[in-house]
Amino acid sequence: MIETINLYFEHVLEYLPRMLESLGETGIMLFFAILAAILLGIPVGTLLFLTSSGNPMEHHLLNRLVNTLVNIIRSFPFLLLVVAMQPFIRQIYGRATGDPIAASFPMIVIAIALYARFVEQSLNDIPKAIIETAQSMGATTWQLVWKFLYVEARSSLVIGFTTAVISFVSYSTIMGVVGGGGIGDFAIRYGYQRYETDIMYTAIVLIILLVGLFQWLGLKVAKILDKR
């Protein structure tokens, strides 16, 4: 028994540098996805909310347009989105395969669409009375968003963000097909293709731990922020 365990650790130790490198690649992809979700997903989600009917910036055409775009991106099977984006990535980044930054482009696109939808839903859950209160005080749309909507929605925005990040982890495991690397790719290449089953399970456990950590952290932050 002890011998088996020793053998396992030796084996893992042997693969450890490559495993850490893969985690780093996952980190790069997650970083860009998270950055895009925050910098662009939140504004797009807010725009979806504000332009929908009955809301302060009601605009049928714009809402329909953004809505359709988000739907298209989200209904793309992710693998096909990755492949479909290849020419575009090559054009603006120079190369489309073989490194985690190139692999981050599809991640960015899906991150914006996914989190925008979560943001829209969070804002929809705020009582309409809050918007009316802001309007009765003569708040501008900007003030409405920053001083009312985001304040009341903040914990649900964090929970949605957590769910989104966990999806990003899942999406990132596909990026091996374009040489993007990452811990998911590592599990497939070393575990599945080379029959190093113990290494594959180790990588999977790592992914599970990573997801668990995000979930725990997200719920904790949301709870601290929620004073309702």
Binding site: E132, T133, G138, A139, D226, K227
Partner: protein, 245 residues
């Protein structure tokens, strides 16, 4: 002065047309405490919401001081709203902000040259010790006091109250009425109160309009009652009300 001139409001929802207000004309003097009474669905909230342009009339005009609301631009409208405070039935506080932050909120939206401080506003409604608490920690009556403090902090010219006591029990209602009465005296403003509770109007207002099915039935001078009941315990009033026929 607030003036309604032949105001009609028609709501159109898909294939349903609903007349909320029909041909209302009335004027409220500066500094007056004016009540708008009526059953639910009578159109009284719609009328109130026109005073700060949350609703627009389908026809007719609403004039505040010398400004007709129908044809003012957004910026002008903002400056009009700046001089109006509003108190809501469900308080409409931000539950993720503390009491002090809620009260301070209107000051973050506009420059108010002669506003109260948060401490003054909270002191006025008797909640100075609650300033660091969150609304979820307060009772209904306390939440409404926060709502009133938030409306008063800007020293508004007009205070609009939309069913301010309807979510509260009888004793708390009287407390809130007393706070509003005190505010009317202290800050020299016009108060417009919409409520189905005639006792609230009786205690607070000098004149009242009675609406029914969107039509103005009458405007009456309220004869003030001097009976102070706010300080009396609930059981005493229960015996009085239930025991008499």
């Amino acid at each position: 002065m607030i003036e309604f001139d032949s105001v009609t409001k028609i709501f159109q929802e898909k294939d349903r047309v609903f007349t909320a207000l029909s041909d209302i004309s009335l004027s409220i003097s500066k500094g007056e405490a004016f009540g708008i009474a009526g059953k639910s669905g009578a159109g009284k909230s719609t009328l109130l919401r026109m005073i700060n342009a949350l609703e627009e009339p389908t026809s007719g005009t609403v004039t505040i001081e010398d400004t007709t609301l129908n044809n003012v631009n957004k910026i002008h409208l903002r400056s009009l709203k700046k001089r109006t405070g509003m108190v809501f039935q469900q308080f409409n506080l931000l539950y993720n902000k503390t009491v002090a932050e809620n009260v301070h909120l209107p000051l973050e939206l506009h420059n108010h040259p002669t506003h109260l401080t948060v401490e003054e506003a909270l002191h006025f409604v008797g909640l100075k010790d609650k300033k660091d608490q969150y609304p979820s920690q307060l009772s209904g009556g306390q939440k409404q006091r926060v709502g009133i403090a938030r409306a008063l902090i800007t020293r508004p010219d007009i205070l609009l109250c939309d069913e301010p006591t309807s979510a509260l029990d009888q004793n708390t209602t009287e407390e809130i009425v007393q706070v509003l009465k005190k505010a009317h005296k202290a800050f020299d403003m016009t108060i417009v109160v919409v409520t189905h509770d005639l006792l609230v109007i009786k205690a607070l207002c000098q004149r009242a309009a009675v609406l029914e099915n969107g039509e103005l039935e009458t405007i009456i001078d309220v004869s003030q009652s001097n009976k102070q009941t706010a300080d009396r315990p609930y059981y005493e009033r229960a015996i009085e009300v239930l025991g008499s026929d």
